[in-house]
Symmetry: C2
Subunit: 573 residues, 2 copies
């Protein structure tokens, strides 16, 4: 194991150059401004004093930058995890009490330990089970929920929730109560962001600016929007006309501490911590995978577990709430052109500085401006194209996408992921439980054998060559048995069945028992069972079994060998 | 669909002959005697008046006999389902109250409806996921729990429970309080049953009796044991010396009725009913499968769902508790030589008659006699041989067996099944997520290609033929990508990679995306990606995809075709 496997920062830090630094600083500045009110909001959502959300945005991204393998994943308090935190603690202690606060820290601590442990046990392969279609549908659905959740800030109304059923009714009910000044700030920001996103770079290049400079300037647009809206509010006191603003933030840094050990509390929180760890990891890895695939890069799931665990331990150490990779902050980070995890470190420093210094200025920031930036960023995550491509290629995968989308929109993010992964695995099992079997014949003049239904091939009445297109295991063992016995019933002249096992990669104990029974029954019907093209690893296991000891037929190296062996006997009846 | 698919009774009733009738009557008589005290006990266990257990043993087996596909499965109240019933209802109503009784009937009703619905939706294939090793381990573990549970009746002590932790401590603690007269009755019965089971038939044949008559007489042994012990108790009043007996049973038949519909009660019981349905079905099918396999027969899981659902509806209709196929009663039925489901009908009639007439006689039956019969029957289900056979063949399958055994013995029957099935599926997914890949070469003078590590084959430096021994899907798509890219890095002279897809039975949307990326990256490294032996169904899907449109290499019919196509180009560099 190399040091860079444990500390991915060593992979890219030595080659860190000025251009990347500029882009990282820019991204960090943007993320800082966008993350501060978000962190405050998620702190409140988690049931702890709002500034705890800020605390959880300083140490965790710093630790993630050192251990993480995604270049642009931004770690901090996220909506779902904040909601789960509140759901876990509210039944135990009154919100806002010191006990509640301690329990939140313990929750971060247990989650962190669990994640690090899972990483040490190399359980990151679990993330492979998040198929591309499921991740894609999950991202799209979550982006929609995020957008709908931010609409209230754009419209100046109250409508929040974790699914369409919670979000849509209050949105529609309050359409007549929309606060026009708020809406205009929001729409102006959105319009500005969308236009600059699409057209500013070509326009700047049209003025003769080099491409890299134009890209950078175009990416400054959101900061301009923030500055302008703060100034506008400061001059015209829009907040006194009912426009919601960020408001006063306490300016202090977290004290570093460690929660006391209380076994009964740990036990009470263990299950919640496990769920938070899993959902946080799955969410984090989904985001990381999507971004990595776009850049044709790869993330290491085991290392991500360690990094995310470290981040949560950091949250616990600095009296914060559980953290994870967040959609909107990551989208802004990536969108603003972050190149390395250093952006996360800059963000952490930025938030620490802002917490200390800029609170008076930030107090004037209208929430509608922030909501507009988040909506534009989330909007770019919505991807319907993959839905239609998948629908054309595989209805099963498309079904898993629809289930993920429907459950995420209609119930919750966790339900969406569970439904998608569960359905993907279920479909795979169902598919392999009814394997494709083909009767094959010889392609004339060759030693090659293909499906009789698809190719012009030679066959004989006395020998059936059955190619089994699946590993044989418990779920399909009896299916094959039925298939072969049906074949024997159809063809009274048949004396030999050859199972062509080129596609059989494994025969488990249930299937072995099933094949023994098949050989026995075929024997009673006067038919010999043969095997051909059994693979090396499969043959190694079969060598000492009752199946091969009692087998009435032979094991042939190739289908052609079985064919030449059996043909003469069929000629002399 | 044929009528006999819906009513399996039509398959065998027309051919029902006298010999089978004799054996069925004998089995039914035995089962009747063994089932009555069991039913009373399970009624008490479920928290309802004891006679409700008897009621649930009359109509349900009658309905199962008409719809069921297992020849010898005996349906009625069973320990696990009785325990689950009590666990579901005790928090809602006081045990023994009329509300509790109504709720028990509603539970049967909902379970019955759920099972019939699952049968109608053809969800019986779910039973295929109970692999042979898991079922075998489950049967062995359950038999051990049943035996340990019956020991208290044999020893005259109190020790009951659903796992070793609940059973063993009271057993050991009370070893000094063993009731000797009870133990002697029990041991005498067990000794008699074991000896007659093993030796009576050959001895009778030795006296010149024909084989069939000898078999019948030998099977009368348990009835003789029952009769003798009842008479012994009646003469010597052993019960007055502390020997536990069945005692007074009310002699009346259930009135047929239907529970009132109460939506809130249905809602409260829905989850419990679902669990009871699933566990009952899984247990029932496990037993049915084991017995069917022994007779080289087959059961139809979908029809079993309907039959079991019907039996539960019957239980609800006759104010009973939820029912399922029971281990011990089925073991006795099979052991006593039941040939057709008619034995179940005879049993039902027998129980009805006994309920009305023989209660005064049965009252004298020592529980130790019954316990001895159940222990002997359950003992024959314990099967360690399969454990050792499986261990030699496949450590993974053996692991699933051990997990099933440990969880059933250490926790509960449900936990055992869930652990076994979960581990089986998990192992299959893990296995397929890290597929076997082999570099293949040409077997000299043939068109056949085999693993370079296992066979003497021809290869060239410029072409790598990689055989992928697994379907490509989300869990292994990235594994293959890594494997191929590692291969390219190892062999600088390589210009062409051929993926031999003879064993690839499916390529899902995630794997498709992964292959597109692989082609792109190989292209950047100056390597062409080819495919060979893509199967018909896989090729049909790939035809219109971006992968084949952009593919730098070719799709070859066979590995040999790829070999001849690429060899000349490797000769002229």
């Amino acid at each position: 194991m190399k040091a860079s496997d444990v500390l991915p920062i060593l992979r890219w830090l030595p080659g860190y150059h000025r251009q990347a630094m500029g882009q990282d600083l820019l991204a960090a500045a943007l993320v800082t401004f966008l993350v501060i009110p978000q962190s405050l909001a998620y702190g409140l959502l988690a049931g702890v004093p709002a500034y705890i959300g800020l605390y959880a945005s300083i140490l965790p991204p710093l630790i993630y930058a050192i251990f993480g393998t995604s270049r642009t994943l931004a770690v901090g308090p996220v909506a779902i995890i904040a909601l789960m935190t509140s759901a876990a603690l509210t039944p135990l202690f009154p919100q806002g009490s010191p006990e509640y606060l301690t329990a939140a820290v313990v929750l971060s601590l247990i989650s962190g330990l669990m994640l690090v442990l899972m990483g040490a046990l190399r359980l990151g392969f679990l993330a492979n089970f998040l198929s591309h279609p499921v991740v894609s549908a999950f991202v799209t659905a979550s982006a929609i929920v995020i957008i709908l959740n931010q609409l209230r800030h754009l419209l100046g109304i109250t409508a929040s929730g974790s699914n369409l059923f919670e979000l849509l009714p209050p949105l529609f009910a309050q359409l007549d109560r929309v606060h026009l000044p708020t809406l205009m700030i929001g729409l102006a920001t959105m319009g500005f962001l969308i236009v600059t996103r699409r057209h500013l770079r070509p326009i700047l290049q049209g003025f003769g600016l080099p491409a890299s400079r134009a890209t950078l300037l175009a990416r400054l647009a959101p900061i301009v929007a923030l500055g302008v809206s703060i100034l506008a509010n400061w001059f015209w006191r829009l907040d006194q006309q009912g426009v919601a603003v960020v408001g006063q933030i306490p300016s202090q840094l977290p004290g570093l501490s460690w929660p006391e050990f209380d076994l009964s509390l740990w036990r009470e929180l263990a299950v919640s911590a496990l769920l938070i760890s899993l959902v946080g990891f799955v969410e984090s890895v989904s985001i990381g995978q999507t971004l990595a695939a776009r850049q044709r890069e790869r993330i290491d799931a085991n290392q991500e577990l360690v990094a995310l665990g470290g981040a949560n331990l950091g949250a616990a150490f600095s009296s914060g709430i559980p953290v994870s990779g967040g959609f909107s902050r990551t989208a802004v980070n990536d969108d603003a052109g972050a190149r390395t995890p250093i952006a996360g470190i800059y963000t952490a420093i930025g938030i620490a500085v802002v917490t200390l210094l800029l609170t008076a200025v930030l107090a004037y920031l209208p929430l509608a401006t922030l909501a507009a930036a988040i909506i534009v960023a989330a909007g770019s995550l919505v991807d319907w194209k993959t839905f239609w491509q998948t629908r054309r290629y595989s209805l099963g995968d498309f079904g898993a996408m629809i289930a993920t989308l429907a459950m995420t929109l209609g119930h919750s993010v966790e339900a969406g992921i569970i439904a998608g992964v569960g359905l993907s695995i279920g479909l795979f099992l169902y598919r392999t439980s009814r394997p494709h079997c083909a009767i094959v014949g010889r392609v004339p003049g060759t030693e090659h054998f293909r499906n009789v239904k698809r190719h012009e091939v030679e066959t004989t009445d006395h020998v059936a060559l059955l190619r089994v297109d699946e590993s044989l295991y418990f779920a399909n063992a009896r299916f094959l048995e039925d298939r072969v016995l049906a074949l024997v019933a159809e063809r009274p002249k048949m004396t030999d069945v050859v199972l062509v096992c080129a596609a059989v990669n494994h025969i488990d104990a249930s299937a072995l028992e099933s094949l023994e029974m098949l050989d026995h029954r075929l024997g009673e019907a006067g038919v010999r069972l043969h095997f051909a093209e059994i693979k090396g690893p499969v043959m190694d296991r079969l060598r000492d079994t009752v199946l091969l000891e009692n087998l009435r037929g032979e094991v042939h190296l190739s289908t052609y060998a079985a064919w030449t062996f059996l043909r003469p006997s069929s000629a002399n009846p």
